[in-house]
Amino acid sequence: MSTVASALRGAPASPPAAPLLSAHGLGRRFEVARGAGALLTRRPRRFLQALRDVSLELAPGETLGIVGESGCGKSTLARCLSGLDRPDEGSIRWQGRPMATGSTPLQRARRVQMVFQDPYASLNPRMSLAQTLDEVLQVHALAATRGERADRVDELLLTVGLAPRLKHHLPHALSGGQRQRISIARALAVGPQVLIADEPVSALDASIQAQIINLLEELRERLKIAFVFISHDLNVVRHISDRIAVMYLGQVVESAATEALFEHPAHPYTRALLAAIPQTDPSRRSLVPALAGELPDPTAPPAGCSFSSRCPWVVQACRAHEPALLEQAPGHAVRCSNAAARRARTLDPIASQGESRVSAR
């Protein structure tokens, strides 16, 4: 277990270092496209708030998992962290200093790299594996001669578990798992300190998923890279992450060390998300959905707490005030005024009023 994770459990093994990458109060909004009719009738412009006051920190070598469902803002967050998109509010820092200060775009690209969900779409279909990797090395001037670059390409392929003899193949000749390995090799080519993986295994079959997750974990150990691992699959995130942030409607609603989050989930949304995972134990079945209702319209989120429209524990105050993300226990932050008032533990399954109300529904 890394020192980061133990520090988060309240037992610091070493003095906390400045985070490698941090986000402070990120906000990002997109204008919703209007049809010609709306322009003629001068309907007001509408905005979708994809990120709202998102702050997080990533320590060197740490793996931060980000979970949430479609439209929660996790991909927008990934794009902002990697510099592919700019937040409208807030800032992104590198080792405590603003990301852009004293660095060129290429330098920034060498710090943070991304791996995308769909390896079919994120590789150029007309470039061989060798060309894809060689281009990166050329752009970043990472090898002096053609021969050096060729050696480095072979080395990168071996790093991600591909035989160098595949290097003249085009992406279509590879399987999904092999393509995802190439996406990872391309990201590693510049020697990044942070790898942001946005649903990297979601398009793959279970047996191949496990191969790629093992590869990522192996690379993390060997190259000491910090990971931001984004997924909707809580089992995968649990396996790979030291710490997890749960997002709902553009906000972080809970963040904690992995085991703390799974053992003592405090936010009602986290609890619903955990309960909705189909368990492989057929004796534990229920006919009651973990969460009722639908995701609200993101252009018009509910007043007060954004989860108030679906929360089984909602009280009047939840609709009146937007709760802040507050630390309930060392390293365990929750955005729920109810949880704050009653402390996280009172929402635990045993001897909890709230739980019996939920199971009765």
Partner: protein
């Protein structure tokens, strides 16, 4: 699964589906047999390309633009051999007694028709309802699948619905005529986990209300464990293991099922590496000889390369097509 012959809702025996093009000759489904009782939710689980979708499509003879060159074996629905049906009889059966929902709720609806009309269509056609009656029934059906404000929303077009709500609309269309069998091909794969949870529980509830049988196709063993009474595991066009869900999930008797379960992150301690299945599924145009799983199997012996294993009963109703099933189960 042990019911006497003839009493099952659906009986599939030795189903074979072959696709032939000038460049290619492959048998996507190769000798698949299973039966589904009345009111049973039966799961078909396997990875991409294992033939589970082709199996579904062969059951209702709907292949879209790329029909197979040959379909073999027998399919009996409520005792009737479906091979004897002509195109008219098929049209009367599909959407009425057998319905199907597909993986992608975004492309399976007609974008130019109000959802209420799409639900009412089948009722008018198959049940002879008047337009007015069908509309009332459509609204009732929309409400039954949990679409709020159904009396207003039946007038909306598909684009006005979220992914989860569109899948509910598809279920409403499929179930409007109260079919005896619902075939659901990866009905929740495109959906978020809390929406998946809602939809699966809705299907179970409607099964209880209507008493239909369900064939649920998925790649997710968790979904099988939470939803199905019986299950068959497919690999490379063949069923490798079948039985009651608890038997197959708790006591897997085929190396592939075991490996599939072991590969799940939930079944590995944090910090330990996952246990993937090495290699990739075979190309069905040139399947390996003997057992199709042998190149990836940790239990493989020399005989596995030559003998195509027949299903062996390892306990009542639980079969495994593995030469070493007795040692594994």
């Amino acid at each position: 699964m042990n019911a006497a012959a003839g009493s099952s809702q659906l009986e599939v025996e030795d189903l074979r589906v072959r696709f032939t093009t000038p460049a290619l000759d492959l048998t996507a489904v190769d000798g698949v047999s299973f039966r589904i009782e009345a009111g049973e939710v039966f799961g078909l689980v396997g990875e991409s390309g294992c033939g589970k979708t082709v199996t579904c499509r062969a059951l209702i003879r709907l292949f879209g633009g790329s029909p197979p060159s040959a379909i073999g074996g027998t399919v009996r629905f409520a005792g009737r051999d479906l091979a004897t049906l002509d195109e008219r009889a098929w049209s009367a059966l599909r959407g009425s007694e057998i319905s199907m929902i597909f993986q992608d709720p975004m492309t399976s609806l007609n974008p130019t028709m109000r959802v209420g009309t799409q639900i009412a269509e089948g009722l008018q056609r198959h049940r002879g309802l008047t337009a007015r009656e069908a509309r009332a029934a459509a609204i009732e059906m929309l409400a039954a699948v949990g679409v709020p404000a159904a009396e207003r929303r039946h007038l909306d077009y598909p684009h006005a619905f979220s992914g989860g709500m569109r899948q509910r609309v598809l279920i409403a269309i499929a179930l409007a005529c109260r079919p005896k069998l619902l075939i659901a091909d990866e009905p929740t794969t495109a959906l978020d986990v809390t929406v998946q949870d809602q939809i699966l529980k809705l299907i179970l509830k409607l099964r209880n209300d209507i008493g239909m049988s369900v064939l649920l196709v998925t790649h997710d063993i968790g979904v099988i464990a939470q939803t199905c009474d019986g299950v068959a595991v497919m690999y490379a066009g063949k069923i490798v293991e079948s039985g009651a869900t608890a038997q197959v999930v708790n006591r897997p008797a085929h190396p592939y099922t075991r490996a599939l379960l072991a590969a799940l992150p939930a079944h590995t301690r944090r910090g330990d590496p996952l246990r993937p299945i090495d290699g990739e599924p075979p190309n069905l145009a040139e399947p390996p000889p003997g057992c199709r799983f042998h190149p990836r199997c940790t239990f493989a012996i020399a005989a596995c390369r030559e003998i195509v294993p027949a299903p062996i009963e390892v306990e009542a109703g639980h079969r495994s097509a593995c030469l070493r099933a007795g040692e594994i189960g």
